[in-house]
Symmetry: C2
Subunit: 476 residues, 2 copies
């Protein structure tokens, strides 16, 4: 119903004058069949393709950003992926980038990026999905990840919607582009929605439980949560220091590979894996202790994945985790509640009445775990990380569910992170691969994972799995 | 020689007009013998005593801050503990605090605090001891720890000197108040020096290797580095996420105990320990694998401590750590170099020519540890943390050296952190207790430590040890 309504124009800082009349420019960019790309086609370009066209002078950064801004202007009234959009600044940056000599152009030259609004961007406010920071001025410095992206020529376009401090599952007004009546998932709601809807080819999010993978699955995007510690979280709002991990959304695997090289996710990574050869490939399918929560969508996707992997010639092994992994969930809860207490104490003292009850509870709880219990949880999880590396290291990659099912109807609840938390606390890299669908025709992703620091291997695997899933789709 | 030179007035933002002529106010505050406190005596007050006088209306916050500012004005020309001082803002805050009704006054009502300049303070610049951030504007928000302190009535007076990103041992211009020809230690140089010299009763620093304990020992201050994770490092410059820990400097144990309650260091801590009874107290003396580095000052202090503990009736056990602890140093190096690479990549890409070669090396190093080596280091250290808790848990507390000897002569090198790194990577709480002296009559501290999360116990132990050391001093 909502989809049929007229889309409301974005009002948050978007200068309509910048788009009207559209700049007339010679069309130099071509698609793969040699046809000139129209402005309407630009929002579906990958970051790699777009930056290649811009680096080589076939497309100006201004043309690209204006086409994306026009697309956002048409779409974001109902998606509401953006909480702050610096259209004017982006156009100015594009102008500057267009003046750079070709040899000065970086790997993300002219590529606009969305940043989850718990991450500092110089000159933009950080609201954390909370009213506490309503009156704060713009940040004085970029978060580490933003600084890296900017140094490669990326244009930081704006801030994307998040749940409160990325720590609740209470949805905001951001909608799922695949079905506006449904949540895009959380807490990285706006980053996933913006990429899924073609607003930007890349967005940055974070995961403490399932905040990258879940929105990735719900919106049908690729989502990478690298090994914990691979990216500095300096300048990112804190929730749980042992779990908070930065990640990326893209619409294809090549962009994720490009990004992981740019941000140097794994300089000392396990040996660079050769491309996966399906016939000699060994895959572990791990349903995980959360399997009883899987609905028909995920169960169907699971069987389909099993089948196509086998058809491709892969050796598929169904692996059950040792029982001790069942205890991970409690240990994780202990660690997160202890670390969240430290993280939220300042804001609690500052304005507790403005915090969601679930956040207040971290500070107020009388059943606070003892110091011994917290240390025990750290140590037991530490041992399981090592054990996990050994289990996963026996295979080329591991496949496991991303979510219980398609995105739930409604915006109030951002969905369950049940299938994601294990890999987060184990510090393992996790990658949502979209391509399968549930009963309502909406996306169901599956997660490719592996041992810690095997990020390059899981990117290779993601490419392989992504192509298999793509072949399942009916031809357009 | 330098000590005899005329002290240069502070020029960084200090409004001379605010102090001259001094405000005349009725003197209501009294010392323990019932004598009115003179302005000159106020800089030696503890935070607890000062806030008590201000909460009860016996002293105004304005009188207190003006006396400290006057003291700083006389002293900081040569100490150079401060890189930014907001005297005007502090006086305004004091005025506001003086107008609060008694029941609105917090536990640190009117107490000025110094903040290491890698920690964000709203309205003040953050320079990180580097030229990279010279042009940054003032921070828009407080770091977590600053926000907590402010909420209890503390006045954030300014930013204190740090080595570059708290990650090098190259000294700056900050001097040791005990001997101006010597380093105050690093990287929390200014925080330790400011407290030692009576500029403020409390300062905040950080430790990744030995950056709290070492300056504590060199300047003769109490320095607490709590269990890792007890305090949120949101808003603090990143070096090594597994090691970076916030801490406090004070001139007495009571202030440290007060602070640890205020910031809720251990809400789920091991049971609140009863006051230590010397006759039934069991103490482990651990020289640690670094003992060969101990010079005559530390060796003398060590024997003295052993003797006075035994004289007090304590059971002193000399404990040698199992050999596997020798490997901690290499594992720590692997972890820190991996995490520092992620931390410094953004600034490297931004302005590598402005980074110290030791910081550049983290990013450039070709001998970068493999992902497997980093994971192995995490796991082995994780197991040793558990083993350490068991070893230390057999005793009421552990005593171990803080530093090799007195503060080295010269400002170029901030000294060795050899004796501190083990407890940092083990996440154990560590507390420098001053009171002993070396061959040149300068302070030698010893470290009280214990199992993770035993912060309350080591605070109790610090009080006990501190009193024993105090009794050794010749009567004034």
């Amino acid at each position: 119903m909502l989809a049929s309504e007229a889309l409301v124009p974005v009002s948050n800082g978007f200068p309509a004058s910048a788009l009207s009349p559209p700049r007339s420019q010679p069309t130099l960019a071509y698609d793969e069949r040699g046809k000139p790309l129209t402005d309407a086609e630009l929002p579906s370009l990958s970051a790699g393709k777009a930056s290649c066209l811009m680096r080589s002078g076939q497309m100006t950064a201004q043309r690209y950003i204006l086409s994306l801004l026009s697309h956002i202007n048409q779409r974001d009234g109902h998606i509401q992926a953006w909480v702050f959009l610096d259209a004017k600044g982006a156009i100015n940056q594009a102008k500057t980038l267009d003046e750079l000599a070709p040899e000065q152009r970086g790997p993300l030259h002219g590529v606009p990026v969305g940043i989850k609004d718990i991450i500092a961007v110089k000159g933009m406010p950080t609201r954390y999905g909370s009213t506490i920071h309503d009156d704060d001025g713009p940040a004085l410095a970029d978060a580490a990840i933003v600084s890296i992206l900017r140094s490669t020529g990326a244009i930081i376009l704006g801030k994307t919607a998040t749940t409160e401090f990325a720590a609740t599952s209470r949805g905001g007004s951001c909608r799922n582009p695949r079905d506006l009546s449904r949540t895009p998932g959380g807490s990285s709601s706006g980053s996933a929605a913006a990429v899924a809807d073609g607003h930007v080819p890349i967005a940055v999010g974070t995961q403490t439980g399932g905040s990258m993978i879940r929105p990735g699955s719900f919106t049908g995007t690729f989502a990478l949560k690298p090994t914990w510690g691979a990216l500095s979280t300096e300048g990112v709002g804190r929730f749980s220091i042992s779990c908070d991990t930065l990640g990326f959304y893209t619409r294809n695997m090549d962009d994720l590979s490009l990004l992981s090289q740019i941000v140097r996710i794994s300089p000392g990574s396990r040996n660079i894996p050769p491309p996966l050869r399906p016939s000699s490939c060994r895959v572990a399918l791990i349903r995980s202790p959360m399997w009883p929560k899987a609905g028909p969508g995920t169960r169907g996707a699971w069987e389909q994945a099993d089948r196509v992997l086998q058809q491709a010639g892969a050796t598929v092994v169904h692996v059950e985790l040792p029982n001790v992994f069942n205890r991970c969930y409690d240990w994780r809860e202990t660690i997160v509640s202890s670390e969240a207490r430290a993280a939220f104490l300042p804001r609690y003292l500052q304005a507790k009445e403005q915090l969601h009850s679930s956040i207040r509870k971290y500070v107020e709880s009388k059943e606070y775990p003892s110091g011994e219990a917290v240390c025990e949880a750290y140590d037991c999880i530490g041992q399981l990380r090592n054990r996990w590396d050994k289990i996963a290291g026996e295979f080329d990659f591991v496949l496991t569910p991303s979510v219980p099912d398609e995105a739930p109807v409604g915006l109030e609840w951002t969905g369950s992170s049940a299938f994601c938390t294990l890999w987060t606390i184990l510090h393992a890299p996790a990658l949502n691969v979209p391509g399968l669908v549930g009963d309502s025709g909406l996306p169901i992703g599956l997660t490719v994972t592996g041992p810690r620091s095997a990020d390059r291997s899981i990117l290779e695997a993601g490419k392989f799995v992504g192509e298999l899933f793509e072949d399942l789709q009916p031809a357009p």
